[in-house]
Amino acid sequence: MTNQLLFSLAVALLGFTGCASLQLPRDQIEHFDTSVRSAKEMGALSLPTTKEHHGALGMPAAKAHLELAKDQAEVAKTMAAAGDSRAVLFLARAQSEADLAVGLARQAAMHSRALQATDDQKSAIAFETRRSR
């Protein structure tokens, strides 16, 4: 009787651990959240669509990657809750999307500065030309 009870308990325990949820690495989740926050702060959601960078459904590329990142992170959390070991890799996919959104936002800011600097140079040359006449 005792043996039977122990056996039932062991089977129940095995079943429980088999269905147990998987814990996503805390540092990776924090890193992901920081990247999403950075992308938003750098204006990833408000960048215009350009010829070089355009995302799905005509969305600006940075915004599209950020939306994908958030969606994939949610999927990763659902997978983890279901005990799916692929959850960690899915979170890495989400992280790569967030990194790309940050990169695109940074590039847009730098590109606009470069255009401004070029315009400044043209103005300076024009001014010098006028003055020397």
């Binding site: 990657h65 692929r86 890799l89 899915f90 890495a92 996919r93 790569s96 999307e97 990194d99 790309l100 990169g103 695109l104 940074r106 590039q107 730098m110 590109h111 500065r113 470069a114 600097a117 070029t118 400044d120 140079q121 103005s123 300076a124 040359i125 001014f127």
Partner: protein
């Protein structure tokens, strides 16, 4: 006897077909291999080699997964991440190129007529 031969030929053909299918890399993996090769030969290879190296690390994992287990979801996940990393290396190379433009212009004093001379240079260098 003839039926036996036919069956044998059919079995060999099926085996050949199966092995042929098993060795065809998924489109994602083929795509990222091409993207990586192009990026290595282009601007990212010169300006952002460390970002490209990050992409290579993940591409290697995708290739290894494909060699050992075939076209699995893990292989496709790695290929997906590698593709994003290659794109990031390209984006970072573009940023680097713009930064160099700003620094060159500022050094040449072309933007010195602005109210805050040198501000552009220092802000570009600090990023």
């Amino acid at each position: 006897m003839k039926t036996h031969h036919k069956n044998l030929i059919l079995a060999v053909a099926l085996a050949a077909l199966t092995s042929a299918c098993a060795t065809v890399a998924p489109a994602q993996l083929v795509g990222v291999r091409d993207s990586f090769a192009a990026a290595s030969a282009g601007l990212p290879g010169k300006l952002t080699p460390s970002a490209l190296y990050d992409a290579k690390q993940v591409l290697d994992q995708a290739n290894k997964e494909f060699e050992t287990r075939g076209d699995t979801t893990t292989c496709r996940d790695y290929a997906y991440i590698a593709q994003n990393k290659v794109e990031l290396a390209e984006v970072m190379a573009g940023t680097e190129q713009d930064r160099e433009t700003i620094i060159d212009l500022a050094r040449a004093g072309a933007v010195a007529s602005n109210a805050q001379p040198g501000s552009l240079l220092s802000s570009a260098e600090s990023r």
